[in-house]
């Protein structure tokens, strides 16, 4: 009989790239939390989050904003005395929560990531103006005006092209992507 798949095991399995040690090796020393530049903006510090995964607190973990606040600076990775690949763990949690569609609904991160991915599938490259509308509502009117002002100033400075560039062999790229995930048409 296969062993029961714990939440922590499930997360560990998701870490394709995780070349570090298992999450279980964590000694709860707090180096990651003490190092993290965004820890003040997290509801649980990275250390707590790892303990929560170990304790199989799945719902709490999925509704945490911790990993969506991770800036991918990898400082925790290089300092972790247990050799855990913490930043990639955060990526894994982001993916997991998106697949399960269980992230906190007021977060911008997941929506941004989705629109980013869609854009790449449309053009092959990323293009800031297209991205803006998908997340801008978060900042309300003031935010939109600010962003819009910045954008027009950027255009004036020649730092924003008006039209997105498309790569030439976009169709090939799309087919490549479909070979990895054969179902459906990536739009």
């Amino acid at each position: 009989m296969a062993a029961k798949l714990t939440f922590s095991k499930e997360i560990a399995n998701l870490l394709y790239a995780m070349h570090g040690n298992p999450i279980k090796d964590c000694i709860q020393c707090g180096t990651c939390s003490g190092t993290c530049p965004a820890v003040e903006f997290m509801d649980h510090s990275p250390r707590e989050l790892i303990a929560m995964i170990g304790a199989n607190l799945k719902d709490e973990v999925l509704h945490s904003n911790t990993y969506w606040s991770c800036a991918s600076c990898y400082y925790c990775n290089v300092r972790c005395p247990a050799g855990i690949d913490i930043a990639d763990l955060m990526y894994a949690l982001k993916r997991y929560s998106m697949w399960k569609d269980q992230y906190k609904k007021d977060l911008i991160g997941p929506k941004f990531s989705e629109s980013f991915v869609k854009m790449i599938m449309r053009t092959g490259r990323s293009f800031e103006p297209v991205l803006a509308p998908s997340y801008i509502f978060k900042y309300g009117t003031r935010g939109i005006i600010q962003e819009a002002q910045t954008a027009s100033a950027l255009v004036l400075k020649g730092r924003l092209p008006l039209l997105p560039k498309k790569i030439k062999r976009l169709e090939n790229l799309k087919r490549m992507v479909r070979r990895i995930i054969p179902i459906g048409e990536p739009s």
Binding site: Q28, G30, C32, S33, G34, T35
Partner: protein
């Protein structure tokens, strides 16, 4: 003669029986060819278990014995002795390890039982080919070499000398004393380190049975248990020990000072002709030629001019001496290094002035140290108002050393206490991962510190910086740490940070282990023969280890190990002769064709080539039975006793007994 094999399967309580169907294995074993009797028993190593074997040998006329139980490391000797009592040669015995190699590796009962059969079958097949062997007697030279004059070496040397044995104590530095001589107080009793150490140092210096060779290093080691030939280089001190009275006038008159990076950890200075510390043993000074103006530029000679002895004790022409000594046993007590904290740049050592190492702090609090015991900042004036002591610097960390360095918690607590004692107003923080205080009186010491008002923060410090964000942080060192007990990020502004680095293996431990032909573990510490049951012996017979060269340990453990190693050596000396395992290689002198491939192989230099008869030969007494030459000999005429081709091939056939029948063999059409 047809062989009659007795097979004994051990339950080892439940250690084996919980995963291996021991009854089934015994029944099955009884059906194998040559097996006359097969039994299972709860504890084969017990007297009753051993008696089973003895009685069966006597009553049933068994010729070969197999015990399937634990590792031969544990009980091979036990069962061999049982065979001898039953009247068999000890090598007519074979052990199958169905515990470490089997029951402990799996929960799958079926697989474990099958593997137990395979391992037992291998032992049965092999034992049929086993030949009687006679042990080799070796005379033990009663002299002993102790390498390293720290507290471990001192303890070992004194134990042996007191028992009437001669000891050569070799120390690399100009004085014995080691790291302990640098300490101020020792935990948990807080007695003065020098006060308890110096009497022992004096004893060593004066003992008629101890030849003290300081400022000396072992250069070569030949020979084997009972008869090691050791070459020692006694470096020139440029001071004639015969006439020097140790008056110290030369030191006083020497006009040049240099930073003392060794004894004073860079915090203080010493003269160019110097004694490392006032209580040094021996008392003779030594000239540091790299900094001596006379040696570098040919001028000065102040020491010689002022030396009051007649004849003059300063001898600029002195040369290194090479000494040849013969000893029966060797005890290595080469101690440890401290982890280099600059490898962790985020703690700021070397960049931020007021970050100190533990050794710097030890010297600072030492009454005879460079600040006369005053705790001050790098300016050597200002006492700190707040101090953070960081635990686990370079230990319990995959990036540096994985192991727990064992003593750092306790000495960090000691530091906190000393700061409270000297600077009662100062705030002291200990940042730790886990507080580890196992030892007699240690937990009580921790309680004492809790009462003294030390702030304990459970969290590994992330970084120490001087980047102030708020006014209180201006001009301070800011220690950034997650306080994991209250789940808060803390930035603690302090004046002083003390790093408690790990004890690590000496940087030359690899070379030393090669010199003495014994093993180093992954971290560079010397490997003991058995971690529990033989912690001071090594895999090389006649070589023992004591103290921190084997792993981090505190003073009491170190002293115990020194004494333990001495006791092991003393027992050999009092026996006078030991019997060595006859598992040795031999070259068939009739068949050797003199190709000389084996000549460079032997790690123990046990192979000689005879030019006249054009054959190579293994010197039995030097051979350690490693088998390197056996494997290398292309003609197959070097034999490893007890590891012959027919024994090994039979064992392989045995272990494949089940696999072979299941093999989907390649069709040989």
């Amino acid at each position: 003669m047809s062989e009659k094999v007795g097979v004994y399967i051990c339950h080892c309580g439940t250690n084996i029986a919980k995963t291996v169907d021991v009854e089934e294995v015994a029944l099955w074993a009884g059906e194998q060819d040559h097996v006359d009797v097969a039994r299972e028993y709860k504890f084969m190593c017990s007297s009753l278990g051993q008696e089973l074997i003895e009685e069966d040998i006597k009553e049933k006329g068994l010729t070969k014995i197999v015990v399937a139980s634990c590792s031969p490391h544990m009980h091979e000797k036990t069962f061999r002795t049982a065979c001898v009592r039953g009247g068999l040669n000890p090598f007519m015995f074979e052990m199958a390890n169905i515990r470490e190699h089997d029951s402990w590796t799996t929960d799958d009962r079926e697989a474990a039982t099958l593997k137990a059969k395979a391992l037992t079958k291998a032992a049965i097949e092999r034992v049929i080919h086993n030949q009687p062997l006679e042990p080799l007697p070796v005379e033990i030279n009663p002299n002993t070499l102790v390498v390293g004059g720290g507290i471990a070496g001192i303890s070992a040397a004194l134990e042996l000398a007191e028992a009437g044995n001669h000891v050569y104590l070799v120390e690399r530095e100009p004085s014995i004393g080691g790291h302990m001589a640098q300490l101020d107080k020792t935990f948990p009793t807080l007695d003065c380190s020098a006060c308890i150490l110096t009497p022992k140092m004096v004893d060593v210096g004066q003992h008629p049975n101890i030849t003290l060779l300081t400022y000396s290093e072992v250069e070569a080691v030949g020979g084997y248990l009972g008869n090691f030939d050791v070459t020692v280089r006694k470096k020139a001190r440029y001071v004639d020990e015969e006439h020097c009275t140790g008056c110290g006038i030369c030191i006083e008159k020497c006009p040049y000072k240099v930073v003392d990076n060794v004894f004073e950890a860079g915090l203080g200075a010493r003269k160019v002709i110097y004694r490392p510390f006032p209580q040094a043993v021996p008392k003779y000074p030594v000239i540091d030629t790299e900094n001596c103006v006379y040696f570098q530029r040919g001028k000065c000679k102040a020491c010689q001019i002022f030396c009051p002895t007649d004849p003059n004790s300063i001898d600029f022409e002195q040369q290194d001496e090479i000494l040849q000594i013969v000893v029966g046993n060797i005890i290595l007590a080469t101690g440890f290094d401290l982890f280099d904290v600059s490898q962790i740049p985020q703690y700021g050592y070397g960049r931020l002035a007021n970050v100190f190492t533990s050794l710097e702090f030890e010297r600072m609090v030492n009454a005879s140290g460079p600040t006369d015991g005053k705790i001050v900042l790098r300016d050597l004036e200002t006492p700190p108002e707040s101090v953070v002591i960081i635990h686990c610097v370079g230990s319990r960390d995959e990036n540096y050393h994985k192991y727990c360095s064992k003593v750092c918690c306790m000495y960090s607590l000691k530091f906190a206490h000393l700061i409270h004692e000297r600077l009662p107003e100062a705030e002291v923080y200990n940042c730790y991962i886990d507080m580890r205080t196992p030892g007699k009186g240690y937990e009580e010491f921790y309680n004492r510190l809790l009462e003294e008002g030390t702030h304990f923060i459970r969290g590994k410090v992330a970084e120490v910086s001087d980047v102030a964000r708020i006014e209180e942080e201006e001009g301070k060192l800011i220690v950034q740490v997650a306080d994991t007990l209250i789940s808060k990020q803390r930035r603690i502004p302090v004046d002083m940070v003390i790093l408690s680095p790990a004890m690590e293996a000496r940087n030359d431990s690899q070379e030393v282990s090669q010199l003495f032909r014994m093993g180093c573990d992954f971290d560079g510490f010397f490997v003991e023969r058995h971690p529990k049951l033989d912690p001071v012996a090594t895999m090389t017979e006649g070589i023992y280890i004591a103290g921190a060269c084997q792993g981090p340990k505190d003073v009491p453990d170190t002293v115990s190990q020194g004494a333990a190693a001495a006791a092991r050596v003393a027992s050999f000396i009092s026996r006078g002769t030991v019997m060595m395992e006859p598992i040795r290689a031999s070259i068939n002198q009739e068949l050797c064709s003199g190709c000389r491939i084996c000549n460079t192989m032997c790690p123990y230099n046990a192979i000689v080539f005879h030019e006249d008869s054009n054959v190579s030969e293994v010197i039995t007494a030097l051979c350690q039975g490693c088998g390197t030459c056996v494997a290398a000999c292309p003609s197959g005429i070097i034999t490893g006793a007890h590891f012959t081709n027919d024994q090994l091939l039979a064992q392989i056939e045995g272990i494949l007994w089940d696999v072979r029948s299941n093999l989907d063999l390649v069709p040989v059409e």
